[in-house]
């Protein structure tokens, strides 16, 4: 029975898949939560099963539940189990669940590292893909650090599908592990020219995302992007690039100049709205960045505005919206060209779409001038009345205030009008922005002295009117204006017409329904009012009147004393006592008015909001110093028990450490700073040096900007703002007449009306003079305020870490950590093994030599850097034909090549650095390790490794070549083509029982006629090999470079020792006279083998073979330059044919590229043209054709001997296939 139940429940448990779950949830609408918790219990049971399919099914269901908002983090471990399933079906489910639920806080995430690494190197591209996708969602700093190198390798994967994913995920890796940016950047840059559009677009995407955060580091890429922009047809890529240029132009105005023309062309030619829009946007950015002085400047602006108008007039709301958005950008610099479209924008205010109305409002902000402010605000006021929905109405309200108050009330000519607008706004029901209106009222009344009288009269009527008080019960914010009204009436009570009346209004019982802070202001200002009334009465000799007012106060104040608000209560009680005291004095006929008003003597000045922050720290004041030493310090604790008995002496030891122990102090200060930095409430002091200005206290020093102008207008009574508009028109008309008259009298005299602030005057503005004599008191700042505006950058900004100079050559410490040990598996090709090992070991030169080398390298680096900067300058300064990108001509070192050479330089840097840095730590570590050969786990890896190796081991510039070749579908191949077989360029030189030497000869374009021979020495014995010396018999044609002072017969020491089983690489430089023929050099390696039994002197002879191919340097060449070269006709021709070749054409080309240092220029079907260049500048062009079973190679070269030798070598290589 019980068993049956168990069985039944097991049935049900396993029967439920995702579909059943979903159906079940729908059928349990009433008790969904209960049903789901039941399901989760079942899922937990399922997860306990050993069957991976059941687990996967459970995880699948969990993913769905996660979407519904259920936390599934408890199943993280099970998710990892499913991720590590061998079947793709389950793996995919696992990774999806992980990507939905894992995050940095997931503790089991660290268990995934090896699994992910395994999947990344899986032979199935979809396993790799699914791992990359998953990782992109949950990569943590640890994962990023550990996997960066694996992902970087994947960037050169044969499948574009993997490449593009690897490229994209690099951005996430950079974010989490910024140190990886510099080592990975050269390869990322290569991918910009990937033949696959998807990979290219991914690379553009990543670089744009990086550049957006730190544009200045990416300026040097501008030529490359420019080329892409003019050549790409992919709108996605174009949009990204154009957006990127928008970010770059502000930093380099010359770039903008260069961009204008192609962008304008695009604007004219494209049919894609999205592209058009982005072009317009970038043109705007360019125009903003250019100060002026471009002849077609206004034409571009006109073009933009005109195109935007078309967008805005479009019936598609999206285009309309974007048009307005872009228009607002133009507005900032070219307000005039936008202002002419005012009608269109005002029209948009009537649009049914709120987003569009809001955008239009934004535009209005920038479109106002003195002339049209009143008109625009009037229009907005009508919208306020019409608006439904408080959000939009609130937005309108804030916009009105923003528009009017912008740049210090620049456009307001009549402040009475503004005050009445504010008063009108108080009639808005239910707005949240009462405090905004209040702040404006206060600001205007305080800073515009001339308006105070008018303001006071308005405010008193506000206090009087009941509607604000009534509305206060509705809990909306508009009663905030009473705060301002009360304060203004109190502070400027001398302007009140009927102070007594106002006083009574403020003491009404209903006032007690207001919020506490407003009541408090009421109470305070009632006294001010009272003081001024008292003075008036006393001066007029109305003693009785004065006493009556006092009585009123005494009668009414108690209602505030009973207030629940502490502030109100306290103020009211104080004041009540004060008034009672006054009453006593008044009863004795003592004149009190003077003394009472003395309470409020002096003027309150406006203080800038930033003033507090700007107060400089006086000299000698250390804000970081403790006022009282903290008690918890261990050192002072030692002294405490003693101090208990003699208190006098206690102080001294307490002081002593603070004076004597500076280190300790510094340490504490540091700790404190740390603490303060983490404390959001701590106001940081500015670190800049304090400047002392002459401090002269007093009100006179408040800067007052004066504008004295014509007769003030007085409008009595409660105003309607509309009437000002009419009045204003009349006034302007009159002014104009006057001005015309004046103009006739004295032409070309200085214009009337000084500008308040350095705003850009427009013609129309200048004609309008303010209606009132206004002093706008600028806000007070502390004396000797610090002038610099602190840049409030968020220190926690994750993108800051990526602000890295990418042009700087890689430093030794910067290489990506490489996984050094993999799970053991028998290695199948030991020959390939030693190469990566050797690479890791690389050279460990003696200090002297290293130093020497480094010096040279440094110099080179410097040169390169200068050159790069010069490249960009050059690129920017010249004005090449706009449409075609500058194509490099291989025969000359022309400017056009610069983008390419620059990138090559960088690659080279990476390479040399990468090699340089591998000595030291890794080498030493290796020394201790067991001498067993390295083992690899996966077949895939084997394919990967040599690839990575290849890019490192090839001659300088080969990395570039890889990128170059990658442009053709040759190396990376279409998906159907098989992966390339692994190859090593190292060939066996000599070997005996002690040592095995493999070598690779590399040419370099940098050093004229020099080749570098890299020799890998592998110790096969049980002895330590040391004192190694390489001596080579020079020939007429080839000479070994030796340290200065040594003779031709001396050997060159190998700068390292080899413990048993270890291998390392040494490099030797040879100078070559003629490169047209191959060359063989005899040499000997002598060394001392030392083991437990003793040391023996050994030697090994070898023959160093310099083939003609080794003099070639992979050099990229574009097809047009290639055609030109062939056209020139000064190349001699020769050809060979090899039969019986079974190799695929792709592999064939790869072989030629690899062994003979060619790069593919163009490939059509089974025919390809290739190019290379010798270290002495010979051009070598090849045409490779594949027939049924044969390959024919036609060559053209500037030297016939070289060509024939090369073809012979090539024949030999091909024959081996």
């Amino acid at each position: 029975m019980a068993l049956k139940m168990v069985k039944g429940s097991i049935d049900r448990m396993f029967d439920k898949n995702l579909q059943d779950l979903v159906r079940g949830i729908r059928n349990h609408k009433e008790d969904e939560a209960k049903y789901i918790s039941q399901c989760i219990d079942e899922i937990k049971q399922e997860l306990k099963q050993d069957n991976i399919a059941v687990k996967a099914n459970a995880v699948c269901k969990l993913t769905y539940l996660q979407m519904l908002g259920y936390d599934i983090s408890w199943a993280a471990f099970n998710i990892i189990e499913v991720m590590s399933a061998s079947k793709f079906t389950f793996k995919r489910i696992g990774y999806l669940a992980a990507s939905q639920s894992f995050h940095e806080g997931t503790d089991v995430i660290m268990l995934t590292t090896n699994q992910i690494r395994k999947d990344l190197s899986s032979p199935s591209q979809y396993d790799t893909g699914v791992a990359l996708t998953g990782l992109s969602c949950f990569v943590t700093p640890d994962l990023a650090r550990d996997l960066a190198n694996d992902i970087m390798t994947l960037m050169s994967h044969t499948k574009p599908y993997i490449r593009k994913k690897a490229v994209l995920i690099m951005y996430k890796v950079f974010l989490k592990y910024p140190e990886s940016l510099r080592p990975a950047f050269p390869r990322l840059k290569e991918k910009l020219e990937d033949p696959d559009p998807g990979v290219q677009s991914a690379a553009v995407n990543v670089i744009c995302e990086l550049a957006r955060r730190n544009p200045k580091n990416y300026l040097s890429l501008a030529p490359l992007f420019f080329k892409l922009m003019t050549s790409s047809t992919n709108n996605w890529v174009l949009i990204k690039i154009i957006k990127l240029f928008g970010a770059l132009t502000p930093l380099e105005p010359r770039l903008g100049k260069k961009l204008i023309e192609p962008l304008t062309n695009l604007i004219h030619s494209t049919s894609a709205m999205s592209l058009l829009y982005e072009c317009v946007n970038t043109v705007i950015a360019v125009l903003i960045s250019l100060s002026s002085g471009m002849p077609n400047h206004s034409a571009s602006i006109q073009l933009c505005v005109q195109k935007l108008r078309i967008l805005i007039e479009d019936s598609d709301q999206n285009l309309k919206y974007l048009g307005l958005l872009a228009m607002s950008k133009i507005l900032k610099t070219h307000p005039k060209s936008v202002q002419s479209h005012k009608d269109l924008i005002l029209q948009c205010l009537d649009d049914k779409d709120e987003s569009i109305r809001l955008r239009a409002l934004d535009l209005l902000y920038g479109m106002v001038s003195k002339k049209n402010l009143m008109e625009i605000v009037k229009k907005l006021m009508t919208h306020v009345d019409k608006a439904e929905g408080t959000t939009y109405r609130d937005e309108l309200l804030t916009k009105i205030i923003d528009i009017c108050s912008q740049s210090n009330y620049q456009y307001i000519t009549n402040f009475e009008w503004y005050i009445s607008i504010l008063v009108e706004l108080t009639r808005l029901e239910g707005t949240r922005h009462g405090h905004l209106i209040a702040a404006q009222m206060l600001d205007v009344a305080i800073r515009v002295k001339a308006i105070r009288k008018f303001a006071v009269s308005q405010m008193s009527s506000l206090l009087d009117s009941a509607h604000l008080l009534a509305s206060s019960t509705q809990r909306n914010g508009i009663c905030e204006v009473l705060y301002a009204a009360a304060w203004i009436c109190g502070e400027f009570s001398e302007h009140l017409q009927e102070p007594h009346h106002t006083l009574e209004a403020m003491l009404r019982p209903k006032v007690t329904t207001l919020p506490g802070h407003i009541q408090a202001v009421y109470v305070q200002n009632v006294v001010k009012l009272y003081a001024s009334i008292l003075q008036q009465k006393e001066q007029a000799g109305e003693a009785e009147g004065a006493q009556a007012v006092t009585q009123l106060m005494v009668d009414r104040l108690p209602q505030f004393v009973q207030s629940a608000d502490l502030e109100v209560q306290e103020r009211a009680s104080c004041i009540l006592q004060l008034v009672k005291h006054i009453q006593k004095l008044q009863a004795k006929d003592v004149p009190v008015a003077e003394e009472v008003s003395a309470l409020f003597a002096g003027e309150l000045n406006p203080v800038a909001p930033k003033a507090q922050k700007k107060v400089p720290v006086p000299e000698g004041l250390d804000l970081d110093a403790w006022i009282n030493e903290p008690l918890s310090d261990s050192e002072s604790e030692d002294e405490r028990p003693r101090a208990v008995f003699h208190e006098e002496e206690q102080r001294r030891p307490k002081h002593r450490p603070s004076e004597a122990d500076e280190e300790e102090l510094a340490r504490r200060r540091e700790a404190r700073k740390q603490e303060q930095a983490n404390n959001p409430f701590y106001i940081k002091s500015s670190p800049s040096p304090q400047k002392r200005y002459q401090d002269t206290p007093g009100v006179e020093h408040i800067p007052v900007v004066q504008i004295d102008l014509s007769v003030p207008l007085k409008v009595p009574g409660l105003p309607m703002s509309d009437q000002y508009v009419k009045l204003e028109e009349e006034r302007r008309h009159q002014q104009k007449l006057e001005k015309d008259k004046r103009r006739k009298k004295r032409k070309e005299k200085e214009k009337k009306g000084k500008r308040r602030h350095g705003s850009l005057p427009t013609e129309s503005d200048e004609d309008i003079a303010p209606a009132q004599q206004v002093d706008i008191v600028t806000e007070e700042m502390p004396e000797n305020a610090l002038p610099s505006d602190e840049d409030d950058k968020d220190p926690n900004d994750p993108y800051r870490a990526l602000d890295i100079d990418l042009d700087k050559p890689l430093a030794d410490s910067e290489k990506l950590p490489i996984q050094k040990h993999r799970n053991a598996e028998t290695s199948k090709s030991p020959e390939k093994e030693d190469v990566p090992v050797a690479e890791k070991k690389s050279k460990k030169p003696k200090k002297k030599e290293k130093k020497h080398k480094e010096k040279g390298r440094d110099k080179e680096k410097k040169k390169e850097k200068e050159k790069k900067a010069a490249d960009l300058d050059f690129w920017l300064s010249t004005t090449p034909p706009p449409a075609p990108a500058p194509a490099p001509v291989p025969s000359t070192e022309e400017a056009g090549v610069n983008p390419v050479t620059a990138s090559k330089d960088e690659c080279e840097d990476t390479k040399t650095e990468a090699q340089g840095e591998e000595d030291g730590a890794e080498g030493q570590e290796q020394d201790k390790k067991s001498p067993k050969p390295r083992k690899k786990k996966h077949k895939k890896e084997k394919e990967e490794r040599p690839k990575g190796k290849k890019s490192k081991k090839q001659p300088p510039g080969s990395e570039e070549a890889a990128g170059e070749a990658a442009r053709e579908p040759v190396q990376n191949g279409a998906p159907e083509e098989e992966p390339l077989p692994p190859e090593s360029s190292y060939s066996l030189l000599a070997e005996n029982s002690y040592i095995k030497m493999t070598c690779d000869v590399r040419g370099s374009l940098q050093e004229d006629s020099q080749v570098t021979v890299a020799i890998v020495l592998e110790n096969r014995s049980n002895s330590v090999l040391k004192g190694m010396e390489l001596s080579v018999l020079d020939s007429l044609n080839a000479r070994m470079a030796r340290p200065q002072g040594s003779s031709v017969h001396d050997g060159v020491p190998v700068p390292f020792q080899l413990p048993p089983g270890v291998s390392n690489e040494a490099q030797f430089v040879f100078t070559i006279q003629s490169v047209v023929t191959a060359q063989k050099l005899k040499g000997t390696l002598s060394f001392i083998a030392k083991n437990d039994e003793g040391a023996t002197q050994e030697k090994l002879d070898f023959r160093l073979h310099f083939s003609c191919s080794s003099y070639l340097v992979t050099t990229p060449c574009y097809s047009d330059a290639f055609a030109k070269l062939l056209e020139s006709g000064d190349l001699s021709m020769s050809s060979v044919k090899v039969d019986g070749i079974q190799l695929s054409f792709q592999n064939l080309l790869a072989k030629i590229c690899f062994h003979h240092h060619f790069s593919v220029v163009e490939r059509v079907d089974s025919c390809a043209s290739m190019y290379s260049r010798s270290i002495q500048g010979h051009h070598v062009c090849l045409l490779v054709k594949k027939g049924e079973n044969s390959v024919s190679v036609d060559g053209k070269c500037s030297d016939p001997t070289l060509l024939s030798n090369l073809l012979e070598e090539m024949k030999a290589t091909l024959a081996k296939c």
Partner: protein, 215 residues
Amino acid sequence: MIQAILVFNNHGKPRLVRFYQRFPEEIQQQIVRETFHLVLKRDDNICNFLEGGSLIGGSDYKLIYRHYATLYFVFCVDSSESELGILDLIQVFVETLDKCFENVCELDLIFHMDKCNCWVIDEASRRKKWEAQRHQQVHYILQEVVMGGMVLETNMNEIVAQIEAQNRLEKSEGGLSAAPARAVSAVKNINLPEIPRNINIGDLNIKVPNLSQFV
């Protein structure tokens, strides 16, 4: 960068929730709800951009959405994305969904494209398809379009090709639906008394002999 992709129906029921920035589940639900309320009150003939980004990020963020019959597709993006571009991307995504499901199952389509170029969703079929076995599938399709918040591929043919290749791969492995069914029968056939006994023992490494072939 794309911060989030949300798909929900006209009743606000989430159909796909994909965040590229970590939010706890309850916040995610809250964002879905609020976003739903934001887009719900908008007519179909007004613009597809919303500056309601306060949910996810600062003013740099925008909501860009499209409404197809019963479904809303909402992308939350920052200023590095082109607004019109994202609108196109949504279209690509939806068309890809259409294409994939059409090819997988001819019974009922999730989307039909009629002559007016307007998308109609068959309500009855949508429910079945979308919610159930397609939930994962939609995620997989999305993964081919957007990866880690960045646009991965915009070429529909490429996306479809990759999805189909992966589905073929899955099919060749027997698929998930097949596996549990077999697993179930396997479990059912186990000699029952063994299970409780093993559980009683508390041995965590129970090996069910019949199962190995399905793992």
